[in-house]
């Protein structure tokens, strides 16, 4: 079977007469015999280009997908200025139409698209050997149809096409047969022309577009091979191509022009023609992919109308001609601009671009859209994570701009709404964020509705009150998490409930405080720039002097942490600390379990590890009694007392088999230290002592006297007295407010 080759332009010349360095490098490499599977056939040149013609023997299976032969003759064309990548041209006349060809002005010889990188990027590592290897690889992979990555956009076909058409993703979807063309077009100007954004997103405002456009979407019949074999340069040429696939460009355009005839500014409005070419492997197999092409005729609606004989201009007036038809041959002189069709971002593609296999479809109710929250939310939305309801009542003020995700355009608007607007504008046909502008403490129906479908409730409010409300005051099944910065903005704290909510957010908060007073690394964690407060309203108030760079680091960690939480079911407490040297250290803290006792209107939440500590201390001192002070926290709004820790019996205490007198040495200093370390969240809450073996935990007369003493003193602060008696078998009896 004789193989026919295209005649190459130019005259044969000896290899050393090649003018371009790269052509000489290639011909030298091949004649040197260094590389197997390539041989030099000819060296040629014409007025402008050098050509090196080689035979390549790719790795081709006996049953290939595409008809690549065991030997392929390729001419490589070299640009004298080296501005264009050396271009491989397949010389075999029946070289098949395969993916990854350059969409050139001529169909033959076919031009192979070897590299995804633009040539200017390739230049620094271009060698003739790498070029040959890539050419060999291209042919081998194409034979097996393994070169084409399924999610690869088409842009690589369109080398040198600078103008993009950003299109709704369904246009590229092979599963959809007819794409609705209720789409609007916005033009964004740039120095090389303009980008056309074709969208159905209602948020995209087109009313003030300086360059109005209309869109026409055409659907071709599915084919087993490509239809458009080279770049059509005129409307008539495109029409001819499309006629082959039963697609009537002229007719569709005519109908649309009719439809648009009442639009203002006919002479200033352009048209973008989007062509969908569905492809399938065999005649009866389903459509596998859709090749999308986008063109802009260099003519206004009016000119197109004239070209089609629909309108005529007369002394400055445009008149519609009735019943008049025309063929596109008259439109032959309407040139076409080819655009690079680019699918708009979807949540799934955003996830993929963030290197996640699938997107997480959690419904997250986020409370608080401040500096930290806005950045975490946007990081997650950008990675395709979640569907969001953002609840926030604030508006964006100038000082927010120093660290907030939002920009100046949002100044004065509600943060939640602006965030939703920005987030939803990134995607086409998907609206991952719903804003609710309200105070979470006075929830609206919208809030209740969101909570009822939430998978995760995330507190970014930087408010203990809000966090407690989220933990205890809202009816919702979803697990809660809280992310906040310490007052100096150096550390990020994550409190995450387990899926079963056995560890509630408020309890995790208590375990976190306990670690703050225990761990040396957390000594200055809640420190407020040298202004220790006796009683803080909140230990999360972000001071107004936090660098945005640190915040952005911690927001990055925070967003990944939310993702991690969504992938695990257990409770966790984590702290990330940034250092002066830009290092970040993670502390993983142990969440405690709490037991509950109720005393009238009061509820006591006892950290089980604190309970254990009391029992252990008792045992260590037997047969003597011992005791100490209790450390914990009040939630007076809910009449909760959390028992978190104890201080060891002071050295000046008296411990006897039937007697314990708590001393005072160091107690005051220690309680003050604890208050300082926790910004007052932990403090003295009562007394405990032990009873010896065989004596139970019933209060003695002395114990009742002690309780009265506690009561007298705590009454002065408006707080109820608390006393605990530890007895044998790890039993502890609690007395709150009164002893029955």
């Amino acid at each position: 079977m004789e193989i026919l080759y295209w005649e190459m332009l130019g005259e044969p010349i000896p290899p050393d007469s090649l003018r371009t360095m790269k052509a000489r490098e290639l011909s030298n490499l091949i004649t040197s015999g260094t590389l197997p599977y390539v041989s030099l056939i000819a060296t040629q040149r014409d007025d402008r280009h050098d050509y090196v013609v080689i035979d390549v023997e790719p790795e081709v299976p006996q049953r290939p997908v595409y008809d690549i032969r065991v030997t392929e003759r390729i001419a490589i064309r070299f640009d004298p200025e080296d501005n264009v990548s050396p271009e491989p041209l397949a010389l075999r006349q029946d070289f098949p139409l395969v993916p990854h060809l350059n969409f050139s002005a001529e169909e033959f010889p076919r031009s192979l698209c070897l590299f995804e990188e633009v040539y200017s990027e390739q230049k620094i590592h271009w060698t003739a050997a790498r070029f040959v290897r890539q050419l060999h690889n291209w042919l081998s992979q194409t034979a097996k149809d393994e070169l084409h990555q399924p999610d690869q956009p088409l842009e690589q076909f369109l080398v040198g096409v600078f103008q993009h058409a950003i299109l709704p993703p369904d246009i590229f979807n092979a599963d959809i047969e007819n794409v609705a063309d209720d789409i609007s077009v916005t033009a964004a100007d740039h120095p090389n022309g303009y980008t056309l954004i074709v969208s159905r997103n209602a948020n995209r405002d087109i009313s003030n577009s300086a360059r109005p456009f209309r869109a026409l979407v055409l659907e071709a019949q599915p084919r087993t091979h490509g239809v458009i074999r080279h770049r059509p340069s005129s409307l008539a040429e495109l029409h001819d191509y499309l006629s082959e696939v039963d697609c009537d460009l002229e007719g569709k355009l005519r109908t649309k022009l009719e439809h648009w005839k009442d639009l203002k500014n006919q002479d200033g409005t352009g048209v973008i023609i989007v062509v969908r070419l569905p492809k399938r492997r065999h005649d009866k197999s389903p459509v596998e992919n859709v090749e999308v092409l986008a063109f802009v005729p260099v003519a206004s609606l009016q000119k197109l109308g004239e070209a089609l004989g629909l309108m005529a201009s007369h002394e400055g007036y445009t008149v519609a001609l009735l019943g008049q038809t025309n063929t596109l041959s008259r439109a032959d002189n309407v040139p076409l601009i080819l655009l690079n069709p680019t699918p708009a971002l979807t949540l799934s593609s955003a996830a993929a671009l963030n290197n996640y296999h699938s997107r997480c479809e959690y419904h997250v109710v986020a409370v608080g859209a401040g500096a930290l929250g806005s950045q975490i939310i946007m990081n997650l939305v950008r990675s395709g994570f979640g569907n969001w309801t953002i609840i926030d009542n604030d508006i964006l003020l100038p000082h927010n701009l120093a660290r907030h995700q939002l920009m100046g355009s949002a100044l004065g608007f509600p943060k939640a709404e602006s965030l939703a607007y920005e987030a939803n504008l990134m995607f086409e046909g998907e609206y991952p964020v719903v804003p609710v502008v309200t105070d979470i403490l006075k929830p609206s129906d919208e809030v209740f509705k969101a909570l009822s479908t939430a998978t995760l409730i995330a507190d970014f409010s930087a408010s203990v009150t809000v966090a407690r409300h989220i933990s205890l005051g809202m009816k919702a099944e979803a697990r809660r998490i809280s992310l906040f910065l310490n007052p100096s903005g150096t550390d990020l704290v994550l409190l995450a409930e387990d899926v079963e909510r056995d560890h509630r957010l408020d309890q995790l908060e208590m375990s976190y405080y306990r670690e703050v007073i225990r761990r040396p690394e957390l000594v200055s964690h809640l420190h407020r720039g040298g202004k220790p407060l006796r009683y803080a309203r909140s230990c999360r108030d972000v001071s107004s002097q936090i660098p945005q760079d640190t915040l952005s680091v911690l927001a990055g960690i925070g967003s990944r942490a939310v993702r991690h939480v969504s992938e695990s079911s257990t409770a966790q407490i984590s702290i990330w600390q940034t250092g002066e040297d830009l290092s970040v250290t993670k502390l993983l803290l142990q969440p405690s379990e709490f037991s509950k006792e109720t005393f009238g209107e009061w509820t006591l939440w006892i950290d089980k590890s604190a309970h254990l500590t009391l029992s252990d201390l008792r045992c260590s001192k037997l047969p003597n009694e011992t005791g100490g002070v209790l450390i914990g926290s009040y939630d007076l709004q809910r009449k909760f007392i959390y028992v978190v820790d104890t201080l060891p019996s002071p050295p000046d205490s008296e411990e006897w088999p039937t007697l314990y007198i708590r001393g005072s040495e160091g107690i005051k200093d220690e309680v003050q230290r604890i208050e300082r370390l926790t910004n007052g969240m932990l403090t003295y809450i009562g007394e405990w002592h032990s009873h010896p073996e065989g004596c139970g935990t019933q209060p003695s007369d002395d114990d009742r006297t002690l309780f009265a003493w506690i009561k007298d003193h705590l009454m002065m602060d408006g707080l109820p007295p608390l006393m605990a008696i530890a007895g044998e078998g790890a039993q502890i009896q609690w007395f709150l407010s009164e002893i029955p």
Partner: protein
């Protein structure tokens, strides 16, 4: 995926079949390299085979088939394999042969010398033991030999496969491979007084299957055109033409014209009709011919390879958009390497990797440097 590997050994044969399920089959073993000649481009076969066994963690070949006893098919065999018949061929470093395949002539031939005598002794030992062996065809002389050894043919029938049968022990469904035996024929052997190694050699069609796609390989030993003509006639008589279809043909006798026809010809050997049918009608699209031989040089020579035969083979595969590969020319005559053919659902693919300089440098030790 299965793999076929032909080793560059000059005019000599060794083909390894690696099945997807891990089984290894060797067709012939001829280590032809002169180890003290630095310029010998033939591969160090024992090292190459041993390296592969180590990589795959195997200590034996499931099958070693010896097509006939000529030196270019068995050279050095006794230095490489563990042989059961004599302790001096046994140590732990030697790979074992789980099953030895031999044509009946290997058992019955008289006057074997050197390596041939050792291989014959091993085959005879195994046949006497009644294990680890398969014999092809049952000429009268085999019966006579068995009786002389005090054995009955009937007791060894399960170890014998005749031409026209598939070889037991390997199945398309489980192994993805089936062998069909074309030669030797007992009838032909009974007509002759003496064994003729080339005539009595083992010739099979191997059918590989992957995901329902079959790839057929003809492994022609050193048969001449008469044997091929007989094979073609018998196969047609039995209406089993598909047993002579092929995607890959390992040429007979290192690209000798004698496998095509009686006359070498000036430019191109003309095949006799049966051979022409085999190469032009039975070859499939993109057929591959493998010549296990020295490079084809464009000058007349007494010994194969004959360029006139190569010219015919090239022309016949070009018609099918196929290719003709010579083991000592692959990938280039200056540095031959094993010819590796991958077999998967796309059929057979000759592996053609353009090596990366850096990966070669980092895989091997650097030459000596420094002042001596």
């Amino acid at each position: 995926m299965h793999c076929l590997t032909f080793f560059p050994l000059g005019n000599a044969d060794c083909c390894r079949i690696d099945l997807g399920n891990g089984k290894k089959i060797l067709f012939d073993y001829a280590n032809m390299r002169c180890s003290d000649d630095e310029n010998d481009k033939r591969i160090d076969l024992p090292s190459e085979l041993r390296r592969d066994l180590e990589e795959t963690g195997k200590k034996s070949f499931d099958v070693v088939a010896i097509t006939h006893l000529d030196k270019d098919h068995i050279c050095g065999l006794s230095e490489f394999f563990q042989l059961d018949h004599d302790k001096s061929f046994q140590d732990d470093d030697r790979p074992q042969i789980d099953e030895l395949w031999v044509p009946a002539a290997i058992i019955t031939e008289d006057g074997c010398e050197n390596e041939a005598a050792i291989v014959q002794a091993e085959a005879r030992f195994r046949l006497k033991q009644g294990t680890g062996i398969r014999v092809f065809s049952r000429p009268n002389r085999l019966k006579d030999w068995l009786e002389a050894e005090g054995l009955k043919l009937e007791d060894r029938l399960d170890l014998i496969t005749d031409a026209g049968q598939t070889i037991p022990g390997l199945e398309l469904e489980t192994d993805g491979l089936e062998f069909f035996v074309h030669s030797p024929f007992a009838i032909r052997q009974n007509d002759c007084d003496l064994e003729d190694r080339n005539i009595d050699s083992l010739i099979v069609q191997a059918t590989f299957t992957v995901e329902g796609v079959n790839t057929k390989v003809l492994l022609g030993a050193d048969a001449g055109y008469e044997v091929i003509a007989d094979m073609v006639k018998v196969t047609r008589d039995h209406a089993r033409e598909e047993r002579l279809e092929w995607d890959i043909f390992k040429l007979c006798h290192h690209c000798s014209y004698t496998a095509l026809g009686p006359d070498k010809g000036e430019e191109e050997t003309e095949p006799i009709d049966e051979v022409k049918w085999l190469f032009e009608t039975q070859s499939q699209s993109r057929a591959l011919i493998v010549s296990t031989s020295w490079p084809i040089e464009n000058k007349d020579s007494l010994q194969p390879p004959h360029y006139q035969a190569a010219a015919y083979y090239r022309r016949s595969v070009n018609k099918k958009n196929g290719e003709f590969r010579v083991t000592m020319e692959h990938p280039k005559p200056t540095a031959p390497e094993p010819l590796v053919i991958k077999i998967d659902a796309s059929g057979a693919t000759v592996k053609k990797e353009i090596p990366l300089g850096i990966s070669i440098i980092t895989e091997t030790s650097a030459p000596r440097a420094g002042l001596q």
